[in-house]
């Protein structure tokens, strides 16, 4: 009965057809090919439908506010897009947001040392960027200038010492910074661009000679120093790891990008980024210390971006600025005049109600496997607007209760996953 379909059996013609098919192998093959073709076309249509649906809804899922924006844009021109409570507001993890650029704007000079050149970028009075590229002996190789016009039609001007000037508009995806200027000037020099006769193209937001091959930029980098306003300076350099067992329960491997933050020459603290172990360690004595590894960022699938020297320099300053501000200002409620009993109590027992990085009230566990539980719990609290009262006002938010249940389970199982980080 090979080749008999259920339909054939039902209408009683199956036996006859099977006999015919048995007698004619060509017809059997033809029927089989037709069936396969129908299946392939069907599967293809279903796959295409799913793909199109995913593609259309992906931006909305990535940014829930966008769904409202779509609705708003379709209603009427000039309609105000509201952001109702409960809608999560924020950029995409891994992309530089306005906070990054606000800090970057506070830098006054970037000095990048490469293996064969030194690039120094500064801001001019009118907001333009001026970069001087020189060899290791201080001889000028080229100048690079970013003429900030309106943020969209910015013009870059590359003037090699041996060659003709090149002018071009920046790419729409490029947001020029001092670090980018250094990188761009160095790239043009390495590509041997000596005049506008050389064909250029944008590659990864950097202007390159058309067809130029990839360079190992990590090997070219030696050191980056960022000078900030008010005497702050951060410097990132590369070295081998000296203490691979510095973090309990973890072994660090490979090289480390070490960033030191200073103010008027006095050491303030450090950040260490270990690319191979995907771990960031920092210490600002009196302000903050800790580490973040890829397993702390599971919800983003690990680090959503690759920390580079410019980010490390900026993050060092941001740690200092933000933590100092938190220590200075505390909470808004604490700025109000308190009764003398509270002030007297505060003298002996300073209030520290902030959600600190690590295990609040259990910081001796910060270097242990329990740190993971605390970080996930902190993140969960931050994402859902919980606070310490959520423990006893458990009926007010089940999401906060879920955060707490996760923490208890995580502690109970010795730093394990608990609910697997759901809702975090």
């Amino acid at each position: 009965m090979a080749g008999t379909s259920p339909a054939d059996s039902e209408n009683g013609t199956g036996a006859a057809r099977s006999c015919q098919v048995t007698r004619d192998p060509r017809a059997e093959r033809k029927s089989s090919v037709k069936t396969h073709r129908r299946i392939i076309i069907g599967v293809g249509l279903i796959t295409a439908a799913i793909a199109v649906t995913e593609w259309r809804t992906e931006p909305v899922r990535a940014n829930p506010a966008a769904s409202q924006a779509v609705g708003a844009s379709q209603t009427a021109p000039g309609t105000v897009r509201t952001a109702p409570p409960g809608v999560r507001l924020g950029g995409n993890p891994g992309q530089k947001g306005e906070t990054y650029y606000a800090f970057e704007a506070q830098s006054v000079r970037h000095t990048t040392r490469y293996v064969d050149a030194i690039a120094v970028s500064e801001r001019s009075v009118e907001g333009d960027f001026v970069t001087r590229l020189s060899d290791l002996h201080g001889n000028e190789i080229a100048q690079f200038r970013v003429d900030r016009i309106d943020g969209v039609n910015d013009v870059v001007q590359y003037s090699p010492r041996a060659g003709k000037e090149v002018r071009a508009f920046t790419d729409a995806a490029v947001r020029p910074t001092l670090d980018w200027s250094n990188h761009q000037a160095y790239s043009l020099w390495k590509d041997g661009v000596t005049s506008d006769a050389v064909p250029l193209e944008w590659k990864n937001q950097v202007m390159r000679r058309r067809g130029a091959g990839l360079r190992d930029e990590a090997k070219e980098f030696v050191e980056l120093q960022t000078d900030w306003a008010a005497g702050f300076s951060s410097k990132t350099s590369r070295r081998a790891i000296r203490s691979p067992d510095a973090l309990p329960g973890r072994r660090l491997r490979g090289e480390v990008f070490e960033t030191r933050l200073t103010k008027d020459g006095a050491d303030i603290g450090f950040l260490n980024w270990v690319p191979e172990s995907q771990t960031l360690v920092w210490s600002m004595p009196g302000l903050t210390e800790g580490f973040i590894a890829a397993d702390h960022l599971k919800q983003y699938g690990g680090w959503p971006f690759v920390p580079d020297p410019a980010w490390l320099n900026l993050q060092a300053l941001a740690f200092h600025r933000l933590k100092t501000e938190m220590q200075r200002s505390g909470f808004v409620a604490e700025q109000q005049r308190q009764p003398w009993t509270q002030r007297a109590l505060g003298f002996f027992m300073p209030t520290l109600a902030a959600n600190e990085p690590g295990c609040d009230g259990l910081h001796w566990l910060d270097g242990t496997v329990f740190r993971f539980c605390c970080d996930i719990h902190d993140r969960c609290y931050e994402a859902n607007g919980c606070n310490w009262k959520s423990w006893w006002l458990f009926w007010s938010s089940w999401t906060c209760t879920q955060c707490n249940s996760f923490a208890i389970t995580c502690f109970t199982v010795g730093g394990g996953g608990g609910f697997g980080g759901r809702g975090v």
Binding site: M349, L352, G361, W364, A407
Partner: protein
């Protein structure tokens, strides 16, 4: 089952340990990153546990059951002081877990200290009995 003197000693011992930690926090215990609190630094935790153990050992008697009760009372007194101190410095986002861990540490240290004190007292008594001339 309440031993008010032991309870008071527990409160006093924990408070004293906390004040010492506050005074020497930056130099001996936890640095400046976090508020003085015995669970914010392993050294501070060990210091508090040792203080409670010593105080509980001083309350020990020759009777093991009475020693156990006194040790528990020292631990409960310390736990009461611990809760007050945590509320005063500001409960963190994990405060119930911190209290549970703290309770386990102070009660264990107090009971262990009391039992150790009883053992030492018993040993001292036995030594005196075996060497009566040294007492006279």
């Amino acid at each position: 089952m309440m031993r008010w003197k032991s309870l008071g000693l527990g409160v006093a011992a924990f408070t004293l340990a906390h004040l010492v930690e506050m005074a020497a926090w930056s130099s001996l215990f936890g640095g400046n990153a976090f508020a003085p609190w015995f669970l914010n630094s392993s050294r501070a935790g060990a210091f508090t546990a040792l203080t409670l153990a010593v105080v509980a050992a001083l309350t020990a008697t020759r009777e093991n059951s009475e020693t156990l009760v006194r040790g528990l009372n020292v631990g409960l007194g310390a736990a009461a002081a611990m809760i007050l101190v945590l509320m005063a410095i500001g409960p963190g986002t994990l405060f119930p877990i911190a209290l549970a861990v703290g309770l386990a540490i102070v009660v264990t240290a107090s009971v262990a200290g009391a039992l150790a004190g009883a053992f030492l007292k018993g040993a001292a008594t036995r030594t005196r009995r075996s060497h009566p001339s040294s007492d006279s």
